[in-house]
């Protein structure tokens, strides 16, 4: 759970946030949506304390946070396995990984369905596989708060769904997620709680049912939407 009050942040004379209140519930997938340039990534950086805003009151009760940025540079000349293992050298001073660590890497690769790429050099992975590799870093990191900035943007539809299913399963293990996504249809079927930032930089947060109304969506994106709702699911169409 993260609770932010009175967030104000101004950069290059643009007031991105003004006295904003943001709540990220525990054990849920919170989806952050909004048009380009309204400050979604900035918000993730503020939450992970990379950027210091002019004013903020933040209460948080997570053990550890993992922040996955949108663009990542990769070290050259190491395999996928070694890439994920890097994460284990963070805490202790040991030279060699334990069998437990190695088993964890195998497990995560199995889970992400890329165990055959274990010995492949990072440079030779596809961009979807690279995103999986970074996601794997989050899974082995022991974090219980994941901040993911468009983690599936390079994946095919099936893999996107698999990753989102995985996030869903993780919530029952006490892992909360805040994820930036552009596909509102997908997010409507997997998200539990929604935060939208409008072009005018107003913040709208709501549970799924209140969030997916044509009015709210039009507020955020500035165009008309048609929302078809069945019992649990929503289908959103752009309305022309």
């Amino acid at each position: 759970m993260i609770d932010i009050k009175n967030l104000s942040f101004c950069v290059d004379n643009i007031q991105l946030f003004k006295d904003a209140d943001i709540h990220i519930p525990k054990n849920k997938i919170t989806v952050l949506v909004g048009p380009n340039g309204v400050g979604k990534t900035t918000l993730l950086k503020i939450i992970s304390e990379i950027i210091k805003p002019q004013s903020i009151e933040m209460t948080k009760n997570y053990r550890e946070l993992f922040y996955l940025p949108q663009r990542i540079k990769y070290p050259q000349g190491i395999t996928l396995e070694e890439y994920i293992e890097s994460s284990f050298f963070k805490k202790s001073w040991k030279w060699f990984l334990t069998n437990e660590d190695k088993r964890k890497v195998d497990e995560v690769l199995e889970l992400l369905e890329i165990p055959d790429k274990k010995k492949t050099l990072i440079d030779n992975l596809s961009s979807g596989e690279l995103q999986k590799a970074n996601f794997a870093l989050g899974l082995v990191s022991d974090a219980d708060m994941l901040l993911l900035d468009e983690p599936t943007s390079n994946m095919d539809l099936v893999n996107q769904i698999k990753i989102l299913n995985m996030l869903k399963k993780l919530t029952s293990k006490g892992i909360s997620t805040l994820v930036v996504m552009h596909d509102i249809n997908l997010s409507s079927s997997y998200g539990d709680y929604f935060i939208g930032i409008t072009k005018e930089r107003k913040i709208i947060s709501a549970e799924k049912k209140e969030f997916f109304t044509p009015e709210t969506l039009q507020d955020i994106f500035g165009i008309s939407f048609k929302v078809i709702s069945t019992d649990e699911d929503f289908h959103i169409q752009i309305f022309n």
Binding site: S48, P69, I72, K73, G77, I78, F89
Partner: protein
């Protein structure tokens, strides 16, 4: 994968042992295999004296300098993620140069390597402190190091200009070598080196963590910066030690880590071993050549290192340089 790496390390170890043999037992006074066997029990003849008083300490210093420079270069390249980063980046070369210049021209001391050592330590302390003011960053460190280097270099030039009678000695010493031979300083050098090596070994796994993109580690900023600063301090100390051992030797701190990476990838536990062997091997062979090529004239070691290093490095780049992409 690991099998291939083990083989490479074994080959490097063998090459290292060969160069060690060359450095100690070969040369104008060639001792050969017989002496090599004899040297295990001490005797008092001149040959043993040459070995124990000249060749052994010289080889030890060559090894220390090589290891220090290669490891420091590896550390700096790892933390800056820049292949051009080198051990002297924290103002070491000019700090050491200034120390050496002052010791010769102002204090008239023969103990110039100690002065060089402290010069290097002081300048890197300055650079690290300045780059830590108002939010630490490695890029800032590189630029401040550059500025301090230029600033001290101008002071060195000034000192050389005002005392032209000693400028030849100065130039000779500033180009690096293993000739300064004091038993006391050798002891403290070895001791300091062992301490530095232990710290370096402790920090090696952290390089495997820091190879991840710095944006990924940004959420653990405090921890990341703590490791970075620790590594930079150890690296500065290692390069200062190399000045203590062999004066200012450029280039080796860039090429040893790069060649290691071309051979072994980016697992720093392997690179640690490989840098130790390649760095010391390189200085041992260079020193061997410096001693024998135009005997009895000894060419400054720094010249040989650069003269040999450049072609070797270009050779590796043409063969295995595909990993360097823009």
């Amino acid at each position: 994968m690991n099998k291939k790496k083990t083989i490479i390390i074994c080959i490097l170890l063998i090459l290292f042992l060969i160069s060690l043999y060359l450095a100690v037992f070969a040369g104008y006074k060639d001792f050969g295999v017989k002496m090599f066997l004899k040297s295990f029990h001490l005797s008092n003849d001149t040959d043993s004296m040459i070995l124990s008083l000249l060749r052994f300490p010289r080889a030890v210093k060559a090894i220390i300098a090589g290891i220090c420079l290669a490891l420091a270069g590896m550390f700096m390249q790892a933390v800056s993620k820049n292949p051009l980063a080198e051990p002297y980046i924290t103002g070491i070369s000019s700090g050491a140069g200034l120390g050496i210049a002052l010791s010769i021209l102002v204090f008239n001391s023969s103990n110039y390597s100690v002065f060089g050592f402290f010069g290097a330590l002081i300048s890197s302390a300055l650079v690290i402190i300045f780059s830590g003011l108002n939010r630490f960053s490695v890029t800032k460190l590189i630029l401040i190091g550059l500025s301090i280097n230029i600033f001290f270099s101008s002071l060195i030039s000034f000192i050389i200009l005002v005392s032209p009678e000693k400028s030849y000695t100065m130039m000779l010493i500033l180009s690096g070598g293993l000739t300064n031979n004091e038993v006391i300083s050798n002891g403290s050098l070895s001791l300091l080196f062992l301490v530095a090596l232990i710290f370096a070994g402790l920090l090696i796994p952290k390089l495997n963590y820091l190879r991840l993109d710095s944006d990924l580690l940004e959420a653990n900023k405090a921890k990341k910066n703590f490791y970075l600063i620790l590594i930079i301090c150890v690296s500065a100390f290692l390069s200062s030690l190399s000045v203590f051992a062999a004066g200012i030797l450029g280039f080796i701190g860039i090429i040893a880590p790069q060649i290691s990476r071309m051979l072994l990838g980016q697992d720093y536990r392997w690179l640690f071993l490989s840098n130790i062997f390649i760095g010391s091997m390189f200085i041992l062979i260079s020193d061997f050549i410096a001693r024998v090529v135009v005997y009895p004239l000894q060419i400054p070691l720094g010249l040989i290192v650069a003269f040999l290093g450049a072609p070797v490095f270009v050779f590796f780049l043409t063969r295995k340089g595909e990993m360097f992409r823009d």
